[in-house]
């Protein structure tokens, strides 16, 4: 009978829950339903024109080269950052977790970029990536090629530049999550494996990685949801350019819906994003669950 009072229903229960219930209805459910309804209309905020047009918005979106580009860029961004972020995070976590001196200090330093405002980070990198900036100096020092006009002004490097920044920024956060998972692995497993003469590589494969799996799934889904919503970086650094090479779905939604006020069209794009995220998160769950590492 521990911990639970089997009382009758009290009005205080409802009252205590009401802040969440109101928030849920007003700021979560209502917008989602409104978004769904709006995406089947051609609502224009300015003229007030509003009529039901069925799936026209969706058809128009898929023949809109800017939107198609936005979807592709968002996919490239997610697929291109995810493996790096996760691999770096796992490697760092294992490194930090193995009796590293000043462990807490280093752990905090690696994590630091994730708590600074994204706007600040994007502003710093805009300058770092500029013509003649530090990153160009670094690359020319080691003899690598770079676009002389600056990374954010070249069609081929703008998106990769933002992706690299994102990996740099979020690695520390996921490292922390993996450290948490590593700490939950019982030390006896390693001791037993050592007694049996298993090498470091074998212990990694047989013990560490399998135990990281639940966290890996969590990180995968979390990072996918986050990556698909990339907006601030684009707004601060490139505004979608050059040649739409950094146009992302959320930026497209913002431009169409809140800049040009094609509310219905923007909402339809947002719903496609929603579906994409749900689909990919589902695929990730299936993949990780089924593959018995």
């Amino acid at each position: 009978m521990r911990g639970v009072s089997v009382g009758r229903f009290r009005s205080s229960d409802l009252l205590m829950l009401s802040p969440w219930l109101v928030t849920l209805l007003l700021f979560w459910l209502f917008p989602i339903i409104a978004s769904l309804v709006l995406s089947f209309t051609d609502y224009q905020l300015l003229s007030g024109h509003n009529s039901f047009i069925g799936v026209d918005n969706f058809i128009a979106l898929f023949s809109d080269p800017t939107f198609v580009r936005a979807v592709l860029n968002t996919l490239v961004f997610t697929v291109g950052t995810l493996p790096f972020t996760i691999i770096f995070a796992i490697v760092l976590a294992i490194f930090v977790n193995r009796n590293l001196p000043f462990k807490t200090f280093f752990q905090s330093v690696y994590f630091f970029p994730s708590i600074v405002s994204l706007v600040v980070v994007a502003l710093i990198y805009s300058t770092l990536y500029a013509r003649g900036g530090y990153i160009q100096m670094l690359l020319s020092a080691v003899g690598l090629a770079y676009p002389p006009e600056g990374f954010l002004f070249s069609e081929n490097t703008a998106l990769p530049a933002i992706m690299a920044m994102d990996v740099w920024m979020s690695t520390g956060y996921y490292m922390l999550l993996f450290v948490a998972a590593l700490q939950s692995i019982p030390q006896e497993l390693y001791d037993a494996a050592s007694l049996e003469g298993a090498g470091a590589w074998h212990r990694l494969k047989a013990i560490t990685l399998p135990h990281l799996k639940p966290m890996l799934l969590f990180v995968l889904v979390l990072n996918t949801i986050k990556s698909f919503q990339i907006f601030v970086e684009v707004f601060v650094m490139t505004k979608g350019g050059p040649l739409n090479s950094t146009m992302t779905i959320v930026y497209f939604v913002y431009e169409e819906g809140l800049h040009k006020f094609n509310i219905g069209y923007g909402a339809a794009a947002a719903n496609i994003l929603f579906l994409l995220i749900a689909l990919i998160a589902w695929v990730e769950m299936k993949l990780v669950q089924e593959r018995q590492i």
């Binding site: 600074v116 706007v119 707004f235």
Partner: protein
Amino acid sequence: MTRHSKSPARPLRLVIAASVAFIFLAPFIYLLLGSLAKNFNLAGTLDLASYSFTLANYTSLFSQAGLYRPVVNSIIVALVVTVGNVIFCTLCGYVLARRRFRGKNLVMLSVVMVLMIPTHVVIIPMYLLTNWLGIFDSYLALILPFLVTPLGVFLMRQYISTLPADMEESARLEGASEWTIVWKIVMPLCKPAIAVLSVQVFLVNWNSFIYPFILTSSESMRTLPVALALLQGYQSINIPQLFAASMISALPTTILFVVFSRRITEGIISGALKG
């Protein structure tokens, strides 16, 4: 002993750790030095040979670019939202952890489901909603939607479930109301969770960009990140000033981080393990 022999020698590992730390810190060192620099190279690099300190970049920001109001706005919004989350998430967490009634599981499910909703997907309806409610471009638009966060409810519920319920039971037998129980018994016991929650919520709201950006329009309602992002388009703002403004935005989070570093990292680690 065997384990140590397999890993690289201690000094080598320290060198590696320090180099990695440098990669993560270098841009911020650049930011700090740049914000205090008297002269900048055109390309945005620092002339370290002739480097000299000045606070002019900071002072000119407040006189020229009017950064005072955004700072105040950010503080107000972040503080109110944090306090709101502490109170409301504790209340909701308590009910979900302790009480039993029909539909409770449904509420719990709603919390978990909403946790997974990508927030940027609903920027358009949120924008319309604040207009219809008549709170567009006001503090209410920046505060009301964020007063209770699903993550906060979830964290508090998880934490309260681990607490023993004996004290609550005896208080109830003595005729204390549910409100008194939460306020006098549960809240004090939740201090560690509340600390984690407050730091988390404060950081998120202090740094939040997209909602303050789309839900306000006047200069006087901007929060710091919004003001910062829009400053860069100004003709009269140069890089050192932009860096100084960025420092002002990054400073409170840095201080919070230095003071509560363990709380934050432990909060994330324990939160992750429970979730």
